[in-house]
């Protein structure tokens, strides 16, 4: 609101000659500052509205977790330690480095930027996805694959999640939430870029971010669809969903500073990265039920590199103002400084998370807290730890009621040709 500050001494001469010029000027300024206070209230209100609803959207992303609760191999108490450690220590340290105004690699630092540039990780391909991916990698490496994932000769056996509807539900909800994640990372919307065109400002940049996000995800989904069709031979909905999420994870870093067409490139490569990582994981007998390491780790890494290649100068200057001629994307003619900063980011994150989480999982493993017992796992954790299966479809009511309890249920065998007597 600096533009609206008003001082009586400035205004006084303008009103000239009149005897009570100063008084009039003071009065006008009084009026003016009232208006200006109201206006700044307005800005607060708009920004808060925007931020709150964006936060709600991000929250909605958590919904997705529920789809996968049932395939987690971690025991609950171990999971509590793990999540407390990850969200309480490992993640905040990383986000401090790249996002807080005095982090050593932050692009918003006042001076001494890393390679004059800092790391542009706008909404967190590295800070969020790569951290999560690496943590998952360490966990799954130390725990080893699920029982039955690889047979005696070491070939992989497909263990599929149990419901495609839930996967699709979760994917769409994540997509919905990503609109809070990426465009919401602007934190403010009422901000003009002041380059003459009044229709253009932060609100356009937010709209553009939403568009790049959409395009990257969709391209990745389609590429994965056709790629897997060529490789495996049928159209698979789970692959499409994973491809979509891979595209989103990749664009997260550069979403605000690239053109829409670059987002298509980003999504295209991301799906290649995802498929490649999956092949690699299978080869090395690495089992991650959700492909989290491949998806968030692999595509997150690609996203960081992608930003360093394609960031457009105009957008970089608008999003990180106050320092003209910042380095920008290598392929856009911005030199290699941004790329160098980003490669350092990848190395540092992998190192930090790898060491801390690796140590934690190793300790848990040593104390036998990490993995559930083999019998528990084959029976499924729902039965042993959670008091029964999540689904009870047709429990037997017509029989004697006294027998009925949580565990007695008649499973309908799909092999039987005769409909069950209901």
């Amino acid at each position: 609101m600096a533009t609206l500050s008003c001082s009586a001494s400035d205004l006084g001469p303008l009103l000239g000659g009149a005897a009570n010029a100063t008084a009039a000027a003071a009065y006008i300024c009084g009026q003016f500052s009232t208006v200006s206070t109201k206006l700044s209230d307005t800005t607060y209100a708009i920004d808060t509205t925007y931020l709150l609803f964006s936060a709600y959207l991000v929250f909605a992303m958590q919904l997705d977790l529920l789809c996968f609760v049932r395939v987690l191999t971690n025991a609950v108490c171990c999971y509590l330690i793990y999540s407390a450690f990850l969200t309480g220590l490992v993640y905040p340290v990383v986000s401090h480095w790249f996002w807080s105004s005095d982090g050593w690699a932050s692009p918003t630092r006042a001076d001494n930027l890393l390679f004059d540039s800092g790391v542009i990780d706008f909404a967190g391909s590295g800070v969020v996805h790569l951290v999560g991916g690496v943590a998952g990698l360490m966990g799954a490496l130390i725990e080893g694959p699920r029982i039955g994932r690889f047979d005696h000769s070491g070939r992989s056996v497909a263990l599929r999640g149990h419901s495609a509807s839930l996967v699709v539900l979760g994917t769409f909800l994540l997509w919905f939430g990503w609109y809070g994640f990426n465009p919401g990372s602007f934190l403010q919307i009422a901000k003009s870029y002041g380059d003459g065109a009044n229709y253009y400002g932060q609100w356009s940049a937010i709209g553009r971010t939403a568009v790049t996000t959409t395009l990257a995800g969709c391209t990745a989904a389609l590429t994965t669809l056709f790629g897997k069709r060529l490789l495996v031979g049928h159209w698979n909905v789970t692959d499409v969903c994973n491809g979509l999420l891979g595209g989103f994870a990749a664009i997260t870093s550069g979403c605000s500073v690239v053109e829409p067409w670059a987002a298509i490139v980003c999504g295209f490569v991301a799906s290649g990265v995802l498929i490649g990582c999956n092949k690699l994981a299978e080869k090395y007998k690495y089992d991650d039920p959700l492909e989290a390491a491949q998806l968030h780790g692999g595509c997150g890494t690609w996203g960081i590199i992608f930003t360093a290649l394609f960031a457009k100068q105009k957008y970089v200057n608008e999003v990180y103002p106050g320092r003209p001629n910042r380095p920008h994307g290598l392929l856009m003619g911005g030199g290699g400084k941004l790329l160098a900063a980003h490669i350092i980011q990848i190395l540092v994150i992998v190192g930090w998370v790898g060491v801390t989480m690796g140590l934690l999982f190793w300790l848990l493993h040593k104390f036998n807290l990490l993995r559930i017992s083999a019998e528990d796992e084959t029976a499924g954790m729902d039965l042993t730890r959670h008091g029964g299966f999540a689904y009870v479809y047709h429990d037997d009511e017509n029989g004697d009621i006294s027998q009925k309890n949580g565990f007695m249920m008649r499973k309908v065998e799909p092999t039987s040709r005769t409909p069950p007597s209901l």
């Binding site: 209100a45 709150l52 429990d395 017509n398």
Partner: protein
Amino acid sequence: MVVSSWEESVTNSINTVYLLFSAYLVFIMQLGFAMLCAGSVRAKNAMNILLTNVVDAAVGSISYYLFGFAFAFGVSSDSNPFIGSHFFALKDIPNETYDYSFFLYQWAFAIAVAGITSGSIAERTQFSAYLVFSFFLTGFVYPIVAHWVWSSNGWLTASSSSELLFGSGAIDFAGSGVVHLVGGIAGLWGAFVEGPRVGRFDAFGKPVRMRGHNATLVVLGTFLLWFGWFGFNPGSFNKILVPYVNTTDQGNWTGIARTAVTTTLAGSTAGVVTLFSRRLLIGHWDPMDVCNGVLGGFVAITSGCAVVEPWAAIVCGFVAAWVLIGLNILALKLKFDDPLEATQLHGGCGAWGLIFTGLFAKKEFVLQVYNSGQLDVPRPFGVLMGGGWGLIAAQVVAVLVIVGWVSITMGPLFYALHKLKILRISIDEELAGLDVSSHGGYAYVDHHEDDQPLRYADYARLKEGSRA
């Protein structure tokens, strides 16, 4: 004045955007209830409970449009503190006080009430009885309570400019009492008059566990309710562009964000406490319990969400979890059967929420919410914060009158339906499940019902055959 009219436009736009999106979020709670209920009943009744939830929303819209809103907020110079009497069928809306967006927001609240109660009487109620009760509750019982507490001339209100009850009025900010306690007590009477489900207690009176058929749906419903609660509590400010006097950069936007924080903290605390105490009591980690615990925390904080500090929200959630566990044990002892624990959850935690507000409301926040932050207004606040007994007395009165009012209206209604034998379904129907008896089939159809080849082997054999 051009500038000032533009300012008014801006103010109106922002407030409407805020209120509308909050209303949409509250509406999504109806989906949350539907999923929660569907997951918590047995598969043979899933279709029935889904139908009741959809019909709740549809019937509630019509009745609230025709007269519910008028009963609740139909205020004018001659209206009385007991019931409103204007704006039937949205006549004279929009006016200076109310716009369409306010109606939409209140409508979303109204349909939530019937959603709460539907859980208590699940699995054993005739559908036509359900229609009657839902229409009556949303169109009459709930709006009158809302009028008392929320409209500017209700006798329990805390926001009127004229004299308030005990100089304070009851602070039920987003409706622990108005919404949840009403829904819970209605459910109490419904479940009490109907009696427990067949087979819920065995011949020796020992409870038999009846598990819901789909835990995924329960978790889905809980998260959707959580999502919706961000519209329910923070949205109850109605306007976001209201600066507080005596501050430079604070206003309703600060209060709204704080409300979202207290809401989250209370729910999470209650969830964690329930998780660990149920682990100690019954020996395994049960996601259903955690879900109910989380919801209990939300219900409890709903009343005071805007006027307490975040640390108080943690206290609130902690106690709410124990209220819920205690009431569940009590319900088992008394052979009271409520399939979704709606009475214990919404009734018990709702009552605790009202009391909690009377204990912990902070002076500064109360003044911000109800007096735009003027510091010189003397008014009671939380008794533990040194604010005197005025507020807690009003809160206790609110609990008592709400319980009383709902009991004298819904109790006789359920009793009459019971006497007319249109309340409960027959035992045969109950054993077979409502879906088959009233709704033409089950909610789930498995592969084999088509009597078709099922495995890939069968499919391949069939292909071979057709080629040969």
